[in-house]
């Protein structure tokens, strides 16, 4: 169908003439550098885009105006002219004391939000003194085993004013409870505090693989937080549906888009099935995307994401409420694209990736530090990462007009193509019975593994160039950059506080609270009130997760 249309349009005819008269003689004299030009997702890119490539795109229907359906050009009518994105640097390492100091440092430097990285034991629901935690305490994030740690983590940071994002998934309801209790102790009212919980368990089974319970009870815990926050913490975002980790695991841009949005649809469906009012809870669902190397592909991805979400909320769920239809998202530059070799090159990569996020209309942004392929960032590296955002915001001028690349033939054609690819995946996943069923069959996992392998092969064939690695490599030792080292004294420090907490608390109250939690889980009631009570009694993260494991069991990954 498009074939006949294209060939008949005046532009298409003119393009044929150009190819004959101008292009062909030029190419025969100076051949192009490669037979095929591909994005970082290994998708083919044409030589030239013209209005003939966007004939299917209708301005009023598909592109439209910012702040209006289908929100391709952004959710705010004024773009960044009204408010810049939130500069939210993800940080967390070592003890709560150390991370608290880093937060205060970043806030002093003009950062506008806080984002907590937890260590692996915390992410997996184990206390610092679990044998499984050995060697991992405070390494990939901050160690939090109980309310005592959380009190130190947010000491002197007013939670009624600063919005906090927490990257936590399998035990998310417990960390949310700790956050709420700390806020309460600061005198902050729950209906005033804001922030975001990652709480996206589906992408754990798909990509990042930090799970505890089987999928269905884990989804029930997510729905519990939706219900609780809608009623009690109405300005809080109880989920950040994340494509970031899906991309880092090796997905293409189109797979990141498709699986993330289909995960989002799955959460909405579960919430609606549980009896929640779509227009009360969906407006608090936020998203989180990667910003990878291929500049235009990424911008197209963000624009397509907003358009698909608006259309799906309208068509699948019948909503007409603007806040339900408007996708809000956070962006982080691609950790996977950073190189150990010639690490200062990463500053440049991050700047370009961040620019794509901004031109895609992100609501908040994390820029990676140049040393993140080596270790957690030093103060100096973290500062340059923040300054990169400030330079984009204050010096480049890209914020002066809304969706400045809208109308580019290439970008609009790519946005349309991304949308189609995502919808093709939706059809497949719907036919399997939804995302939970697709994950149980290993479908998204296999698609991603396959893409990761194809990419690695393309790098090894040097079809995909990584500067400093497979091209322009330097044989002499590259200049070392100082790195942050977390030693085992962190564990000792954390064990001391944990012991003290266990000694000082009322053991009877802890046991009662844990029994109540088991009962709530068994009776399929909302687990949030009992979780909060357990946290208040200083039950540890490990104890609370263990109580839920008693009821729900644990997830075992099938072999794919």
């Amino acid at each position: 169908m498009p074939e006949t249309k294209e060939s008949s349009s005046p532009v298409a005819l003119e393009k044929e003439r150009w190819e004959r008269e101008t292009l062909e003689p030029a190419v025969s004299k100076h051949p192009e550098r490669k037979k095929s030009f591909q994005t970082v997702s290994l998708a083919e890119v044409d030589r030239l885009y013209t209005p003939a490539d966007t004939e299917e795109v209708d301005f009023n229907r598909d592109i439209s105006f910012p702040g209006e359906f289908p929100y391709t050009r952004g959710i705010h009518p004024t773009g960044y002219r009204g408010k810049l994105w939130t500069m939210r640097q993800f940080a967390g390492f070592s003890t709560p004391e150390e991370t608290n100091a880093r937060f205060k440092y970043l806030l002093d430097q003009g950062q506008t939000g806080v984002s907590v990285a937890y260590d692996l034991p915390t992410l997996m629901g184990y206390d610092a003194d679990s044998p499984l935690s050995e060697g991992e305490v405070g390494k990939c994030g901050v160690a939090v085993s109980s309310l005592s740690d959380m009190e130190v983590l947010f000491d002197g940071i007013p939670l009624e004013k600063v919005t906090v994002s927490q990257t936590i998934n399998a035990p998310a309801s417990v960390l949310l409870a700790m956050y709420l209790v700390v806020a309460e102790k600061q005198g902050a009212s729950w209906d005033k505090i804001s922030g975001t919980l990652q709480n996206d368990i589906l992408k754990e089974y798909i990509a990042q693989k930090e799970w505890i319970y089987p999928i269905k009870p884990a989804m029930k815990l997510v729905v519990d937080t939706f219900e609780f926050c809608t009623e009690r913490v109405p300005r809080y975002n109880p989920i950040s549906v994340s494509g970031y980790h899906i991309r880092e695991a090796g997905a293409t841009a189109a797979q990141e888009l498709a699986f993330t949005l289909r995960d989002g649809i799955e959460y909405v469906a579960w919430g609606v099935d549980a009896g929640l009012d779509i227009d009360r809870f969906v407006p608090r669902i936020s998203f989180f995307f990667n910003a990878h190397n291929d500049f235009f592909e990424e911008i197209a991805k963000y624009r397509a994401a907003r358009r698909i979400w608006a259309r799906e909320m309208k068509q699948r769920f019948g909503s007409d409420h603007p806040r339900t239809l408007q996708m809000r998202f956070h962006t982080q530059t691609a950790g996977v694209s950073l190189t150990v070799q010639q690490p200062l090159n990463n500053i440049v990569r991050v700047a370009i990736q961040a620019l794509a996020g901004v031109l895609g209309g992100t609501q908040s942004l994390h820029t990676d530090a140049y040393d993140e392929a080596l270790a957690l960032p030093t103060d100096r590296a973290a500062l340059i990462a923040l300054r990169t955002q400030q330079i984009i915001a204050e010096e480049t001028g890209v914020v002066n007009t809304v969706d400045p690349l809208g109308g580019s033939y290439y970008l609009e054609a790519l946005t349309e193509k991304m949308e189609q690819e995502a919808l093709d995946y939706f059809h497949k996943i719907d036919a399997m019975g939804g995302m939970v069923a697709a994950i149980e069959r290993g479908f998204p996992q296999r698609e991603i593994q396959d893409s990761a392998y194809q990419y690695q092969k393309a790098v090894e064939r040097r079809e995909q160039v990584i500067v400093g690695v497979n091209k322009y490599a330097m044989t002499d030792q590259p200049a070392e950059v100082p790195i942050l080292v977390i030693d085992e004294s962190v564990r000792t420090h954390q064990l001391e506080r944990l012991e003290q907490t266990r000694a000082q608390r009322d053991a009877g109250a802890v046991n009662n609270a844990l029994d109540k939690l088991r009962l709530a889980a068994t009776k399929n009631e909302n687990t949030m009130p009992a979780t909060i009570e357990a946290v208040r009694a200083y039950a540890t993260l490990g104890e609370i997760c263990s109580a839920l494991r008693d009821v729900y069991g644990v997830y075992e990954e099938p072999a794919f």
Binding site: K139, E210, N470
Partner: protein
């Protein structure tokens, strides 16, 4: 000469779930004609050593990104030696600071492959270093 295929255990110790590297390596070694067993996630050093013995592998490839390498890798080497698997090579791939490399080698790790390594280099290393068996 023996025609026994090189057997490799790809292992993911610790709590980290980022298995992209482990899975890409497993597939590349398989495509290079080796027999590959993947342990799955969150294996203790004891589980890894037991699997290495049971599968009678020539090499264990440990994927680790979490910073726990100094705790976990020497223990895997020691447990393999305790089981008499003196010829079993232990390779480490992942995020390991340069300054930890000599220490890990001293503790018996045969080679450490840092980010950006080509799968071809790992395949070549195995062909060059696995001792032929009958």
């Amino acid at each position: 000469m023996s025609t026994r295929k090189i057997r490799v255990l790809v292992a993911k110790p610790g709590l980290d779930g980022h298995d992209r590297g482990a899975k890409v390596i497993a597939r590349a070694l398989r495509d290079a004609g080796m027999e590959v067993i993947y342990t799955g996630l969150r294996q203790t050093p004891e589980m890894i050593a037991a699997a290495a013995l049971q599968e009678d592998v020539d090499a264990v490839g440990v994927s680790i990104l979490s910073g726990a390498h100094n705790t976990l890798c020497p223990r895997i080497v020691q447990l393999l030696r305790d089981k008499g698997m003196d010829n079993c090579l232990v390779l480490v791939g992942g995020i390991v600071p340069q300054e930890d490399v000599p220490k890990l080698k001293q503790q018996g790790v045969a080679e450490i492959f840092l980010p950006g390594t080509s799968t071809e280099d790992i395949i070549k290393f195995l062909h060059d270093n696995v001792k032929p068996r009958d």
